[in-house]
């Protein structure tokens, strides 16, 4: 060992390092990012096909459909959050890393949100247009999706950590996450509906924001604990 005075990395270096690596991986495999987006668009297409093209009806169900589709699409991408790391052994390396595990887990969740939640928010106006959503409502919808997908990624990371390495993990993950995610869906979709009906919608925005902040401060610890337990 060399007589070298080491410079300690900062507390967030683990966050940036894991986020950067996962973004790099996503860049090299764009399919993993695009597939959930296509899924999102397809689910949104299913509803007009199933219930008919009546403009009035579509306008009415639009917020709900977009939100359900966003939830399902997030769920679809969550399964792979830790699976790749589990299979090639890098999850074990993260567990013995000198960086705090909650920070590393948060870095991975951040990368997940940047590659799944944020793209959803960005393409949602196009789909909202096909549902005749008024232009004034679209920013509200994007804001609810922005806050909501943050919460969903964080909640989902707990579920993904609990089910990593289990057989039939995908179905189980949905079973664990959907009931936890119901308040987010309920707040998000109804806030958009309120905005579309020219009602006061700020309560929903505040509640979603509070949910996102609470999950941001608590979920990484739960995820880290779950990762340690799953890898015993």
């Amino acid at each position: 060992m060399s007589e070298h005075q080491p410079q300690q990395p900062g507390i967030f270096s683990g966050l940036w390092a894991t986020a950067r690596r996962d973004l790099l991986l996503a860049w090299k495999r764009p399919g993993d990012v695009l597939n959930p987006l296509f899924f999102f668009a397809m689910v949104c297409t299913l509803f007009p096909l199933a219930i008919g093209p009546s403009a009035e009806q579509l306008e009415f169900i639009g917020p709900g459909v977009l939100w359900v589709a966003a939830l399902l699409s997030t769920l679809l991408s969550l399964n792979s959050l830790f699976l790749g790391d589990f299979e090639d052994g890098s999850l074990d390396q993260l567990l013995v890393s000198p960086q705090p595990l909650p920070v590393l887990a948060l870095g991975k969740t951040l990368a997940h949100w940047l590659t799944s939640g944020l793209p959803l928010v960005l393409v949602s106006p196009i789909l909202a247009m096909t549902y005749r959503m008024p232009g004034s409502v679209v920013p509200v919808m994007m804001l609810t999706l922005l806050l909501g997908t943050i919460s969903l990624s964080l909640l989902g990371s707990i579920g993904a950590a609990l089910t990593v390495g289990l057989h039939r993990g995908t179905a189980l993950l949905s079973l664990l996450i959907l009931p936890l995610a119901m308040p987010v869906l309920l707040l998000g979709a109804n806030t958009v509906s309120l905005a579309a009906g020219n009602d006061i919608y700020t309560t929903g925005i505040w509640a979603l924001g509070a949910y996102a902040v609470a999950s941001l401060s608590l979920a990484p610890y739960a995820t880290a604990a779950a990762l340690r337990i799953s890898n015993e």
Partner: protein, 204 residues
Amino acid sequence: MTARLAADNLTLIRGERCLFEGLDFALNDGELLLLEGRNGCGKTSLMRAIAGMLSLETGQVLWNGVPVLKQRQTFHGELVWLAHRTGLKGDLNMVENLHFEESLRPQSGRDREAVYARLGIERLKRLPLRSLSAGQQRRVALARMLLADVPLWLMDEPFTNLDREGRKLVMELAEEHLAAGGLCVMAAHQDVEIGAPVTKIHMQ
């Protein structure tokens, strides 16, 4: 005097099976701990237990006299684990993989190019790891271990996928590490010739 790395009365039960019971050892600077035994006898589990990744039925692992679970971050900062699975990303190239590992640790004083040259991987820098052979990937994992520049090496079957030359290289590296005052825990099911004080644990 407290040993650098010590185990006190370790018992591990996985499911219905007791893998080891009442296991003790003590390891000091410059010493090698060799875990011997058939496949599936619990060598990897013991190594995971040393790294603080398993919850033990009884006992604890101590680093500088302090239980590792009470100083997880510090302890992990002083060990590197060469696992059976390399833990490297096949889609990234060698430099990207090693850069990620380096950014998690304090900057080491090691000369990167010299390490690459020693391991014979200096030409593989820009290739995705997926395209390398298993032996070459193992050498990249060895590079990560050397660049971490830490006292404790945990090596789980370090000779897997390596040719005769590679095996010799691993033994040399371990010997140098021990001679410089490092510690090494090694699980192997074949003969190991390393010139250093050795403690052996034969697992049933």
